[in-house]
């Protein structure tokens, strides 16, 4: 699939797990960022289609990154991830233009459902 996905998460286990699921969907390019700042740099340099964004990261957190993406009115579809996906956090993410919020721990079904929705919306 001709898509560029960026995974922003400080946890290596989480990044590898996501890469594994996205690999199954035959995503062309999967980029990784270990913190919010690195994520921002990559977003500025490259054309990202889908962003998997952890909330609690060093340097800049998920809200900071989502805020930047939102302000740039970019076409990036963001999927936020957190083990603390409280109503309040979901509300903040939604305000910042984040379309999908997933609670950790994630399941393969979560990822497949979200990816299906994103890909179907892209087609139409």
């Amino acid at each position: 699939m001709n898509l560029v996905v960026l995974i922003a998460d400080d946890n290596l286990v989480m990044r590898n797990l996501l890469k594994f699921y996205l690999g199954k969907l035959k995503i062309d390019t999967i980029l990784e960022a270990e913190d919010g700042l690195e994520a921002l740099k990559i977003i500025k340099e490259k054309e990202i289609d889908i962003l998997f964004l952890d909330l609690m990261m060093p340097n800049l957190n998920g809200f900071n990154v989502a805020n930047y993406v939102n302000a740039k009115s970019s076409e990036i579809v963001t999927v936020a991830l957190s083990s603390d996906m409280s109503e309040k956090n979901v509300k903040v993410f939604k305000t910042l233009g984040v379309k999908y919020c997933l609670e950790k721990p994630i399941s393969p079904t979560d990822i497949n459902t979200v990816m299906n929705e994103i890909l179907n919306n892209n087609d139409s």
């Binding site: 946890n11 290596l12 286990v13 797990l17 594994f20 699921y21 950790k104 721990p105 399941s107």
Partner: protein
């Protein structure tokens, strides 16, 4: 005692010993005996988190492979990464506890919770969550060192079985 026989029991009891437990110590038996002679009710002793989480130490590679739709090889790779990186996190957590840096305690516990949860290491996940929640509320009445020891115990236990 390590070797108790029916006739020994009677001797012990007849010379004024109140009760006995056999070695190796069975935790349930120990609690039962304590409960018998103290004001603790059995229920309250069995409510201790140690007891409730011990059961969760079981880990089935096959079940997790199926649930997460991974290959066994890849799951083992992820577990190795986890056990390798969590060592440093435990050291950092110990330091943070020493200087009572609650934000740091929260941040590290949160991270351990996230990765252990995704690998379905339930006992580690639950204990990290407990530490995370106490430190989030800056709860100073908690013995964090004890919680860290328990967390570390679970990690060692899983690591022994899975690596």
């Amino acid at each position: 005692t390590g070797n108790i026989q029916e006739k020994d029991k009677e001797i012990y009891l007849s010379i004024g010993i109140d009760d006995y437990i056999s070695k190796p110590i069975d935790l349930d038996q120990l609690y039962l005996v304590i409960a018998k002679f103290t004001y603790f009710t059995i229920e309250s002793i069995f409510d201790e988190p140690e007891v409730s989480t011990v059961k969760n130490l079981e880990y089935s590679i096959t079940d997790v492979v199926n649930e997460l739709e991974l290959t066994e090889e890849f799951l083992k790779e992820l577990l190795a990464i986890f056990f390798n990186s969590v060592k440093d996190e435990v050291v950092e957590l110990e330091k943070a506890i020493k200087v009572k840096n609650y934000e740091e305690i929260y941040s590290i516990a949160h991270s351990i919770k996230g990765s252990s949860g995704n690998l379905r290491l339930k006992a580690v996940f639950e204990k990290a969550k407990e530490i995370e929640q106490h430190s989030k509320n800056k709860n100073i009445s908690i013995n964090y060192t004890l919680l860290l020891d328990e967390l570390n115990g679970f990690i060692q236990n899983y690591a022994k079985d899975l690596t």
